[in-house]
């Protein structure tokens, strides 16, 4: 695998995952860099075969594990996630299902969750995001109609 393709994938997909977990660009950036460094030293196969699904899942898992540790250390777990309502694990499940396109069984196995927990996490977060999108749309519609009148 070419370095450029590897960097594109890491910058695009894995940063998005880290940022979705922590909702902090700088923390997400540091997280992806740290995981990449660790993989380059310990498990280079993951980076070389980044286009293959089992390795992708391993990288996502590493990012999630480190994110969980960081969140606890920095207090993001208590502060940020309390506002965000859902735990880090549920966010990881949702992202892996929607963007990563992994099956519920694969996600459950890698994050040590039952099928019911996986489905519940996906449905709850999807409903919340759709609710937010709907609210945003109606707000922008209202503000546009105010300007028009």
């Amino acid at each position: 695998m070419k370095v450029k393709t590897l960097l594109d994938t890491l910058t695009d997909k894995y940063f998005q995952f880290a940022n979705f977990l922590l909702e902090d660009e700088l923390q997400a950036m540091q997280l992806v860099v740290d995981v990449t460094t660790a993989l380059a030293i310990e498990n280079r196969d993951c980076l070389v075969n980044i286009d293959k699904k089992p390795y992708q899942l391993q990288i996502y898992q590493k990012i999630y594990e480190l994110a969980e540790r960081r969140a606890n250390q920095l207090g993001i777990g208590e502060l940020g996630l309390a506002q965000k309502k859902y735990p880090l694990k549920d966010r990881a499940v949702f992202f892996l299902s929607e963007v990563g396109d992994f099956s519920q069984i694969e996600i459950g196995k890698s994050l040590n969750l039952s099928d019911v927990e996986v489905i519940q996490a996906i449905e709850v977060i999807r409903a919340d995001i759709l609710y937010k999108i709907q609210n945003k749309d109606s707000e922008s519609f209202r503000s546009n109609s105010q300007y028009a009148s």
Binding site: F15, Q16, M29, I41, E98, V99, Q104, L130
Partner: protein, 132 residues
């Protein structure tokens, strides 16, 4: 955003409907307006969610820094092979040129010059004796 429907199958359709689709069900879907409506709604929702998730991608401001740091992380543990080979070749070339110089100065030493002269005379003398 949920589509209300009277069709029993439409109520069964959820976000994973494509994964659990059997042939009989798919034939029904093609002709059922309720099911088609439900599928369309789900597809629209999926699209909206993906657009929302796109907002978590690296922005133009952060992307160059992130790429630079990632490149360093990848190359720190595994420097490029080309660079290593180039470095090795350079040091080998330097060693060879040093050896050449040393050889040249070694020959110019009086002791070695005397040995060389003796060897030449010995060769000439023996070849003259053999050719007689």
């Amino acid at each position: 955003m949920q589509a209300s429907s009277d069709c029993f199958h439409a109520k069964q359709i959820n976000n994973n409907f494509t994964k659990n689709l059997n042939k009989q069900f798919s034939e029904h879907i093609e002709s059922c307006p309720d099911c088609l409506k439900k599928i369309k709604t789900i597809q629209q929702q999926k699209k909206a969610v993906l657009i929302h998730l796109d907002s978590y991608k690296a922005t133009k401001e952060i992307s160059p820094d992130l790429r630079r740091e990632l490149r360093e992380a990848v190359e720190l543990a595994h420097p490029k092979k080309v660079k290593v080979v180039k470095k090795e070749m350079k040091s080998l070339g330097r060693k060879l040129s040093l050896m050449n110089k040393e050889m040249f100065f070694e020959i110019l030493r009086p002791k070695n010059l005397a040995m060389l002269t003796f060897a030449i005379f010995f060769y000439l003398a023996t070849s003259a004796l053999v050719n007689k």
